[in-house]
């Protein structure tokens, strides 16, 4: 009954507004961006492009990537807006992305643009690893504030650190691949061996360790800075630490799914995603965005974070991903009754 009514209304509206209503294109956009940001993204874009409507499919990075790979032979998405760069590299290496140079892409920091011509994806913003330290619980337990990754291997922290499992969390993989880059292949594994002795457990999501630290469940969480800043803003007694050796980071990026039926609308969306306006929008939640010179500081963000970002080799991370995860699992995941 209701749907009949809706249909009638829609038909009437179609007759009245004629071509305008008929021309509206619906884009299915896959994203891992936090839900509270999505409405803003859609509103801003749809205001500029009233003829295009966005249908979000939002899930965690892992699920969205798995979904895209599973749908490889019959893609459901038109555009990916806000998915981890390494995931997009993976999709690119499967030939699933439509190369396209969005208008105005030259203005972006080249670190944020795929190096093929035309590029297969363009970056939006970056999220950066950091350590969340609960000062209240830390004091109770008599823990001193760590300042580097190496500090975290001190036996004092035994059982008081929580980090994401790289096998199920993109943030966890970011940490592991950055340690392998910072300390070298052998040094990296040696470091993780020692760190493992102090880990209470590995979580499945990247933001959870920081939230666990915020809730005092485990005093130290290896997570990302953005999450720490948010929890701090919510009233958590947190100190956000940028380890001195440098921190890993991952970008969020945009791409067109190869074979989309709505190529023109998809291109418009990607054009929009690289504009200054869009980057200002990303800046609300992220301190680092692809468009140089517009980033304003984010409340509670730690000092010196941008300088600490390592020179990340995404290709290394993507191409060695399977081998790194296998090694990690063999070393640490087998010890189920470790603690």
């Amino acid at each position: 009954m209701l749907s009949k009514l809706k249909l009638t209304v829609a038909l009437t509206a179609g007759l009245v507004f004629g071509s305008a209503a008929a021309a509206q294109t619906e884009l299915t956009v896959y994203t891992a961006v936090e839900a509270e940001d999505l409405a803003r993204y859609a509103e801003t874009f749809e205001a500029a492009n009233p003829d295009i409507k966005i249908n979000w499919v939002r899930d965690s990075t892992g699920i969205i990537t798995a979904k895209l790979l599973a749908e490889r032979d019959n893609p459901q998405a038109d555009v990916i807006w806000g998915l981890a760069g390494t995931s997009l590299l993976l999709l690119k290496s499967e030939g699933m992305l439509e190369p396209y140079a969005p208008a105005g892409v030259e203005a972006l920091d080249p670190r944020f643009v795929d190096d093929s011509t035309p590029p297969s994806w363009t970056g939006m913003d970056a999220y950066v690893a950091a350590v969340c330290f609960n000062t209240v619980e830390g004091e109770k337990l008599g823990l001193s504030l760590p300042s580097s990754w190496q500090d975290l291997t001190d036996p004092m922290y035994s059982g008081h650190i929580i980090m994401p499992n790289p096998n199920s969390s993109g943030t966890g993989f970011l940490d592991v691949s950055s340690w392998l880059q910072i300390f070298g292949e052998d040094g990296g594994w040696e470091y993780m061996d020692k760190l493992h002795e102090n880990i209470a457990r590995y979580t499945h999501s990247g933001s959870k360790p920081c939230k666990m630290a915020a809730a005092g469940e485990i005093p130290i969480g290896i997570s990302f800075a953005f999450r720490g800043a948010k929890s701090k803003a919510a009233g958590a007694p947190l100190e956000i630490i940028v380890p001195t050796e440098g921190v890993g980071w991952e970008m969020e990026a945009t791409a067109i799914v190869a074979g989309t039926a709505n190529l023109e609308a998809a291109q418009k969306l990607v054009d929009f995603s690289v504009t200054k306006e869009a980057n200002e929008m990303y800046n609300t939640g992220y301190a680092v965005v692809a468009y140089p010179g517009i980033a304003k500081p984010v409340e509670h963000f730690p000092e010196g974070l941008l300088e600490a970002m390592i020179d990340n080799d995404f290709e290394y991370a993507a191409n060695n991903r399977a081998a790194i995860l296998k090694e990690w699992q063999a070393r640490y995941d087998g010890k189920s009754e470790a603690k």
């Binding site: 469940e217 399977a322 009754e337």
Partner: protein
Amino acid sequence: MIARDAERLPEGPAIRGKLGRDDLIMRGGMVVIALYLLVTLAFPLYAMLSKSISTYSFDLAAFELQVSDDEGRFDGTIRTAAELNEATGAYTPADLIAGSDGRLGVTAFFPDFSFRSPVRYRIRNATDDGRFLVGSTLHDDTSWQELDSNTFRRVQLRPVETRGLGNFASYFSTPALFNSIQNSIVIAVISTIVTVTLAFWFAYALNRSCMRFKGLFRLIAMMPILVPSLLPGIALVYLFGNQGMLKDLMFGASIYGPIGIVIGSVFFTFPHAFIIISTALAISDARLYEAATALRASRWRTFWTVTIPGARYGLISAAFVVFNLVITDFGLPKVIGGQFNVLAVDIYKQVIGQQNFEMGAVVSVVLVIPAILAFAIDRAVQSRQVALLSARSVPFAPKPDRKIDRFFFAYACAIGLFIIGLLGVCQFAALVRFWPYDLSLSLNNFQFDRMDGGGWGSYFNSIRLALLTAVIGTAVIFFGAYLVEKTRGFRTGRALFQMFAMLPMAIPGMVLGLAYIFFFNNPANPLNAIYGTMAILVICTVTHFYTVSHLTAVTALKQMDREFESVAASLKQPTMKLFARVTVPVCLPAVLDISIYLFVNAMTTVSAVVFLYSPKTTLASIAVLNMDDAGDIAPAAAMGMMIFYTNALARILHLVASRGILARAQAWRMR
């Protein structure tokens, strides 16, 4: 029994019962429902199974390479990677087995390789299905790529798909994964023993004693079914976590691990066990007890010779239902399992974390084995089951006994406290502004539109899904159970059907969901159109929860003597009339239980639909999962409680509605 006697008779002229119209209708109905199960279960599972034996390996013969001299000139010598590997021994055959995301560097083929040298390299696929990457750019045609040595360093070969048991070999040789089998079984066995024991005495108290407030306790016992399995995990964190209210009760042990999984599993499987055992205990023949009293048998002896044998089928069904629920559940161990790996979470890690669908399928296949064993045991027990409620039966009515009634009342209170306690903690958690630092109350955690995972829209989608599932699912499942129980002859067909009906219990939701993607999202599939709609969610949910509903229906139908069918036949009444006038009314409690069971499970289901929802069909239960996953535990508890209140309301409406119907249809019980 009858069949066995018939085997002993000498072979006479073959007398074949005429297939009447009724038989044809019933067989036709069975074929339709069997077809439904085939398409929604067997085919997707087959797609999954074939995924598990699809392995990936590097076919070195499919890549051709050329090397220039120091001036960058090529002399035209083409060698395949296989020849180079033979010459250098760079990779062993074991190195050439990979996952779908496997990559193999090429520089190892050239022992004197230097990325600074002026030597140039050419590489191409010798066949159309060869694939390699330069950096992250895929090359899947047969044209030559000429690269300088620095770029050549970035070449990665990709594996091709083959078939074989390689995945299983690598699964069983990975200790981390293999360990999970033992963990899963230990957890499931302990949870089963605890749950079935607790649920049996609870059901016994409610059916066989005259204790007070039975209706209330029945309601409380059903509560855990109203929430997603993650919720007890969340409650346990608030109770026994490092910041928990009752942390000291743990005496230093961690709730994150086997202890937490078992406690949570007992909580969420309790109503499942209770519903089955209670159905079995509800209908009993008072004449047996009268006989026992007349024979001066002790209470204890009566219990072991009358009560337990009568409830045996229910007990065993309950045990394997609980066992499978625990072993296939992934929500609870994910929330509270800590570093204790179990199979269901391994699937999640393989599929979501590593995008290794093949290994996910392998773990799923491993998970199916215990279920098939359970199925075999169930069949063995079932074949010995005798109908308890015959046309001559006298319903049993318990007599008051103060001491015993008090004891059972205290027992029921303890169980009730456990259930209400965990839910109460979740409600409290949902209202606290910032645990444990700011204990003021607020409704902030209910602002779902500001959280990850779906918002209020997903809540209303869940209600729609639940209603559709309850109506369509009950009709399909009860009719299916009736056909399989009451059709005469057609034994192979019935056994096959029964097997299909048992399968869903064994299939972890996540596997079912993935299987659906592989099957329904195939463009060659004519059913492709339902992908991404509410329809696929309904189908998936009905299929996922088929088994328990089917068992409830079968258990109820079993209590009905087959004589009813014979009487109807001799009175020349059509079977469908008997079905509508006798079977459905007699089994109405079971039918109503099935519909509410489906409704609440559709509200709480997570894993099966996590891959299948679309922008228009996001669900509340998935929002709980995502919010907990992101560490937003309080909002997750809040959404979980919304599901709880919705389900509780549905149950109350259901109770009011069914009371009216039952008063009329169940008059025969009230002598």
